[in-house]
């Protein structure tokens, strides 16, 4: 028992959990709705930049990108390229104006811009769709780690992670969440940096590892005991390092680029982060810092996925690592690589980092969705005259409801790829909120009906193409269908707005508020 408790993976995970509990306890005082939903708007650019990074660099990045690179080669690494674009576009077109607007939730933007309850209601529906899509793979990552390295069942992993979230977000609100996210980001980055240093020190230089992988085609000796079919695992070095291994056509590649590049602009938990800055100037700096961190992170993720592949192909790792790499699926490549590189202590750090990634991202999703449920839905449509305390309480009850819903979704995606599922969440976000925010901020002609049409068309088309691909004509079928769904969302907004022509009478005041430079540094 004591030996188990003192094992590095257990020890470091307990330290992480203890830190979360301590920070949550310190920040538990949420006196009003501003404290609970946007952390009192008091976080500076460094903390917020770290927290945006923490929010953005989820399990999909920490585990997913490396896993996709390990499995798909160049096409897997291409996911990192696409994910890296989004924050930059967000910084250019949305970050500053969004902070100048200042609100609690993403749906507030539509509520204000169009004075519309209907638009707010549709926005809430979209927030839940995106958050659900995003939360499920995060829970999958946590449950797989618990299952693989602590021997728990998948179902226990889901329930445990949801329970942690109820405490983490329900008690700490946005204040606790932000500080925890910022701290957790640096844990993950430290894990990646140490892994990369150990790999390079051990002679696993990028050029050499890639050379080794490219030159091997055929079965990997002695891997049959771990494979489901009982045969040695086959690899194809040339296909792995080329394109077309996963994305079969040029247009498939363009499609994922569009979806992932614009998806970030539509992610509710990322957009919400810009409300927590004290000023628009701080919002821009936060975004810049998050982009720098994310770029470094993606670079490491692809390198470590490649190193994992190199280790696997060389067949020099321990039986345990070889077995984990085959049976753990692509989501568990980073922990297995860490174990191969640095033994139990590095594995422990990576497991703590993976939990940090999951908690960090999930907490952002919980906060964003609890705002949608408690503030946009309950507070707007059911009980309009809530006191500040009742608003906070409604937010906490919403966390409980969301834990049950997300937990159920997590149970449904047991065998999926984290990176790919998140890419689909990005597709929905890019097809719904991205057109609304870009056009809502920069185009006065956008009308309420146009906004609602854009949200509904973007949501319905993306859901159709993701869930019912068999019914989609062949020429419109893509691995990630952004090339169809994103233009559909934009076109719906533009066409309906041009036909409708009735804009809010105070749209000029709105534009003044979000584009006034005098208010920038306040």
């Amino acid at each position: 028992m004591l030996e188990t408790l003192l094992s590095p993976k257990m020890l470091l995970t307990i330290i992480l959990m203890g830190t979360i509990v301590y920070i949550t306890y310190l920040t538990k005082k949420n006196e009003n709705a501003s404290d609970f939903f946007v952390g009192g708007r008091g976080f500076g650019w460094f903390t917020n930049g770290s927290a945006i990074g923490g929010d953005y660099l989820s399990a999909a990045t920490f585990l997913g990108i490396a896993g996709l690179t390990f499995q798909l080669g160049y096409d897997g690494a291409y996911y990192a390229l696409c994910f890296s674009i989004g924050l930059t576009l967000l910084a250019i077109f949305v970050a500053g104006p969004l902070r100048r607007f200042g609100a609690y939730t993403v749906a507030d933007f539509l509520g204000y811009r169009f004075h519309s309850k209907r638009a707010r209601l549709v926005a809430v529906l979209v927030v839940f769709s995106i958050s659900g899509f995003y939360a499920a793979p995060q829970l999958l990552g946590a449950a797989q780690i618990l299952s693989m390295f602590f021997g728990t069942s998948y179902e226990f992993g889901i329930i445990f992670t949801c329970a942690v979230m109820i405490f983490y977000v329900g008690v700490g609100g946005m204040k606790g969440t932000t500080i925890n996210q910022a701290l957790e980001l640096w844990i993950r980055l430290a894990a990646f940096v140490i892994m990369a240093v150990v790999a390079i020190y051990g002679g696993l230089h990028y050029d050499k590892v890639l050379d080794g992988i490219n030159s091997v085609t055929g079965p990997i000796a002695d891997t049959s005991p771990y494979a489901l079919d009982g045969k040695d695992v086959e690899v194809d070095g040339e296909a792995w390092s080329g394109t077309g291994f996963y994305f079969p056509t040029f247009w498939d590649t363009i499609s994922i680029t569009i979806a992932l590049a614009l998806g970030t602009i539509g992610l509710p938990h990322i957009l919400l982060r810009f409300y927590t800055n004290p000023s628009a100037k701080a919002a821009r700096k936060s975004a810049l810092m998050a982009i720098g961190i994310a770029s470094v992170f993606f670079l490491f993720a692809v390198y470590l996925g490649t190193v994992g592949r190199g280790i696997f192909i060389s067949g020099e790792a321990s039986d345990q690592v070889m077995s984990d790499m085959v049976t753990g699926g692509n989501n568990m490549v980073i922990p297995s690589t860490a174990q191969a590189l640095g033994g139990e202590w590095l594995l422990g750090l990576v497991i703590a980092g993976a939990f940090a990634a999951v908690f960090s991202n999930l907490s952002g999703l919980f906060i964003a969705s609890s705002g949608a449920l408690a503030h946009d839905l309950y507070g707007t449509f059911i009980k309009k005259d809530m006191t500040e305390k009742q608003r906070v309480m409604a937010g906490k009850v919403a966390i409980l409801v969301l834990a049950v819903v997300y937990g159920a979704l997590g149970l449904l995606v047991k065998d999926a790829s984290i990176g790919h599922l998140v890419a689909l969440a990005f597709t929905v976000a890019a097809s719904t909120f991205a057109p609304i925010f870009i056009l809502g901020i920069w185009w006065r002609r956008m009308t309420e009906k146009g906004a609602i049409a854009g949200l509904l068309v973007g949501l319905i088309v993306s859901m159709w193409m993701i869930f019912l691909p068999g019914t989609v004509p062949d020429f419109l079928t893509f691995k990630v269908p952004g090339i169809v769904t994103v233009p559909a969302g934009f076109l719906a907004v533009i066409i309906v707005s041009l036909i409708d022509r009735r804009v809010p009478a105070d749209v000029n005041d709105f534009m003044k508020k979000v584009h006034s430079k005098e208010a920038e540094s306040i």
Binding site: R41, G42, Y74, A77, L81, S84, I85, L87, T88, L89, A91, I92, G96, R100, G102, D108, G111, Y112, F114, H115, H205, D207, K208, L210, D211, S215, S241, G242, T243, I254, T257, A280, K281, R284, I291, A294, S295, V296, F298, L299, R444, R445, R501, R502, V503, P504, A505, D506, V507, N508, D509, M511, K513, H515, S516, K517, E518, A519, S521, I522
Partner: protein, 124 residues
């Protein structure tokens, strides 16, 4: 700190035909034009680079997949190194240009403490 959010009371807001809408304040129009032009130019440069990678991969594979450093091909280098740097550089240029324009505005229109509330009136 910016003005705190205030709930909108959901009185049915009036709408006007876009053609009847008064023109935008010239200063705001100028702000938006400057901001959007810079953003679009930077985005065009960024996306030209981004989309050149799949074009290179699919239509010029002999160049794209030519090893340039051990087993690392040109496209692998562009995808995993240069793109990451580009994301930051484009955002940095945007921020620097924005702050330069902001300084110019502040020189022309010095901010007074007393104006703070007036500038942050919540739309309702």
């Amino acid at each position: 700190m910016a003005a705190e959010y205030q709930d909108y009371d959901y009185v049915e807001a009036s709408t006007v035909k876009f053609d009847d809408l008064p023109p935008l304040d010239p200063q705001i129009k100028e702000n938006m034009r400057g901001e959007l032009t810079t953003g679009l130019i930077l985005t065009a440069i960024y996306f030209t680079f981004i989309f050149s990678i799949p074009v290179l991969n699919w239509y010029f594979p002999e160049i794209a997949f030519k090893p340039i450093w051990g087993g690392m091909s040109l496209t692998w280098f562009l995808t995993t190194f240069v793109t990451m740097a580009m994301a930051f550089i484009i955002a940095l240029i945007h921020t620097v240009l924005y702050e330069r324009r902001l300084k110019n505005v502040e020189k022309l229109q010095p901010v007074k403490e007393d104006d703070e509330d007036a500038r942050n009136v919540t739309i309702s």
